[in-house]
């Protein structure tokens, strides 16, 4: 469960990073993205990644937590990479779904 939540947040973070990369923006968006917004995407991506790492370290310890974190990022990157290849326009929709799944899992865990 925790791993799935971690994967969800990694997908969102990596999607944001991809949105900040000029070579993918053409595929993802219909409108032009300003340099300032690109920067914002990039920062948001790194912040989410960093936060998820901190949460993992807090709950599972540095060694186990970061190992799981790296493992989840691997497969989140794979998912984002495949999505950008075959359905770049659906990246935003996918992120909405992933966020909802994350929210549901969070609620289930907290209950």
């Amino acid at each position: 469960m925790a791993a799935l939540m971690l994967w969800c947040s990694a997908v969102v973070a990596l999607s944001a990073l991809a949105c900040g990369m000029s070579k993918h923006q053409r595929d993802i968006f219909t409108a032009q993205i300003s340099a300032q917004n690109s920067r914002r995407f990039e920062i948001a991506g790194w912040v989410v990644l960093l936060l998820s790492a901190l949460v993992m370290i807090y709950f599972k310890g540095a060694s186990v937590g970061l190992s799981e974190w790296l493992g989840c990022i691997t497969f989140a990157a794979l998912a984002v990479g495949l999505l950008l290849t075959y359905h770049p326009k659906k990246l935003l929709q996918a992120n909405v779904i992933v966020t909802v799944v994350f929210g549901l899992l969070l609620i289930v865990t907290l209950i």
Partner: protein, 565 residues
């Protein structure tokens, strides 16, 4: 490094290094990666290959299981030097016992299985199971163990070289992090090679580096030998317990004295251990405390970390002690981090033993080697490691294919296939699809060779290698494309057949194993189905592929790619 003596930059020389060292060892590395990845689940593979165990459903409490185990051991396990009890858990459906008789050294095998529900003994067939794949991944087979280790070790070293030179060669991997351009021939293979390499880069570095560390006593024995006498002594010194309290010091001194006495006895008997043990005094018998109650107490203090195993030394004597070991660790940085507790089995008193101290270098060694062996990790991390291993296997495979694809234009220009090119093609097929077919043949042989047959495990292994050899012959006599298609089809059929075979030959059917929550059995069948589907997908992908249509237009682009690569 260029024969024509032209100047080249560091990146180009790295590219040369990366291409040729990888090709030379690619097939071996593929085999190591594939069998190594399967070894993350070697327990599960062994369980699948012992279908007799599938009837044991793990639904009883550990206290109940311990009761069964002790009942069996008190009846059949005496006298003993030690008992080892492993509970049924998420990776093993039955209770597993080991009895070490007095005078026996450490040894493998001789497991006794008990049904977790009824406590009845289960006689499982004799097989190496997942252990064969595990051993193969670092010792190969059919040659002295030490040779196999050297060969795999050297390949690991080159893998490490390939990773580092690969990062430098493919300079755009981080810029192209999410980039995959499908259906573009060479470009796509390069992208796939990069993606599988970069996404799992931390895993690749960890697994290769720790692979080297695990064999370091063999590669670089000089420092250990000259300072400590031998590698064994070095490890012993490193893990020498350090006392913290007077009580611990007293215990340690006592233990050392005992060891010295035993050693002295062994020497007097001229090294013949059998005789030495006969001289050993028989310890007075003494009843043990209620171990079931003790295990209940231990479990309470460990909360959700279940007891994995219990070891009883010198059971039913005045010197009896019992050690409880937990399943998981909380940190991978300390060798002593998996919780364990030791009690005097006669009085029930906790024994506070001195433990080795940690250090930074030990912590690094423990971190990478435990990750390599998935030691003490939970199922989530185990699956992540397994999946990363699959990515690694795909990385090696895509690299090997890339070598061939990249040289197709040259071969076409030449008008005939040079021997070297043909050789690489044949060996690629033999490795990439041949090895999974050989593994499937190994699993099938396990179910078709009669369970009662003596010496049946070497037969299973023979089937593995014969199947692999047949794949080589098939790839050599068939043309390139049909050879790929036929082997992919065969692999797909074999893996999809596995769950059916399982329930036809005495295993727990997939729906039943899921119903009983026996995921160690169900996941084997499910992974086989997924592998089968992947092979079918690859088959159709290749079948539909008609080659790159426009050759003229491709030429300048291919050159550009070569310069980048």
């Amino acid at each position: 490094m260029r024969v024509d003596g032209k100047n080249e930059g560091p990146r180009q020389s790295m590219s040369w290094l990366h291409t040729w060292t990888s090709l030379l060892l690619g097939w071996l590395l593929y085999a190591v990666f594939l069998t190594g990845t399967l070894s993350f689940f070697q327990n599960e593979i062994t369980v699948w290959m012992k279908p007799e165990l599938h009837q044991s459903v793990n639904s009883t409490s550990q206290q109940q299981q311990l009761g069964y185990a002790l009942q069996y051991l008190q009846q059949n396990g005496q006298p003993a030097e030690s008992w080892n009890i492993r509970f049924a858990n998420e990776r093993q459906p039955a209770i597993m016992l080991n009895i070490r008789k007095p005078g026996e050294g450490r040894r493998r095998g001789g497991e006794i299985y008990l049904d977790a529900q009824t406590g009845q003994e289960i006689k499982a067939r004799e097989t190496r199971g997942g252990g064969f794949l595990y051993r193969f991944h670092f010792e190969l087979y059919g040659m002295p163990r030490i040779w196999g280790r050297w060969i795999v070790g050297i390949a690991t070293l080159f893998m490490f070289v390939a990773i580092i030179s690969g990062i430098i060669t493919h300079k755009k991997i981080f810029k192209d992090f999410f980039t995959f351009r499908p259906a573009k021939g060479q470009r796509s293979w390069l992208d796939a090679h990069n993606a599988t390499a970069v996404f799992a880069l931390p895993f690749h570095i960890m697994i290769t580096f720790s692979g080297l560390l695990l064999l370091m006593f063999m590669f670089m024995p000089w420092a250990m030998n000259s300072h400590y006498g031998s590698g064994q002594n070095f490890y012993q010194m490193l893990n020498e317990p350090v006392t913290k309290t007077p009580e611990q010091a007293r215990l340690l001194a006592e233990q050392k004295q005992k060891e010295a006495v035993e050693e002295g006895r062994g020497n007097r008997a001229g090294g013949r251990r059998g005789e030495a043990e006969q001289v050993a005094p028989v310890l007075a018998a003494a009843p043990m405390v209620n171990l079931v109650a003790l295990s209940h107490y231990v479990q309470q203090s460990w909360e959700d970390n279940p007891i994995a195993s219990i070891r009883v030394n010198k059971p039913n004597t005045v010197e009896a002690d019992v050690q409880f070991n937990a399943t998981r660790t909380t940190t991978l940085l300390d060798r002593e981090s998996i919780p364990s507790m030791k009690f005097n089995a006669v009085t029930g008193q906790l024994i506070d033993e001195a433990k080795p101290v940690n250090s930074t270098s030990k912590a690094i060694y423990t971190l990478v080697t435990w990750l390599h062996m998935a030691h003490g990790v939970d199922s989530v991390l185990r699956w992540l490691l397994f999946l990363s291993g699959i990515l690694g296997t795909m990385m090696v495979a895509s690299g090997l294919i890339l070598w061939v694809v990249k040289r197709i234009p040259d071969v076409q220009k030449l008008g005939y296939k040079p021997f070297g090119h043909r050789l690489v093609e044949v060996l690629n097929i033999t490795a990439i699809t041949g090895l999974p077919i050989a593994c499937a043949a190994y699993f099938i042989a396990n179910r078709f060779i009669p369970a009662q047959l003596a010496e049946r495990s070497p037969l299973e292994i023979n089937v593995f290698f014969i199947a692999w050899l047949l794949c080589l012959i098939h790839a050599a006599i068939r043309a390139h494309r049909p050879a790929w298609l036929e082997q992919l089809a065969l692999a797909a059929v074999l893996f999809l057949f596995m769950p059916i075979l399982n329930f036809l030959t005495g295993g727990q059917a997939l729906w039943m194993s899921i119903y009983h929550g026996q995921w160690m059995i169900a996941s084997f069948d499910l992974v086989c189905i997924i592998l089968g589907l992947i092979f079918i997908y690859s088959y159709y992908k290749l079948k539909r592929y008609q080659g790159l249509a426009v050759k003229q237009k491709k030429q300048p682009k291919a050159q550009a790619v070569q310069e980048q690569a």
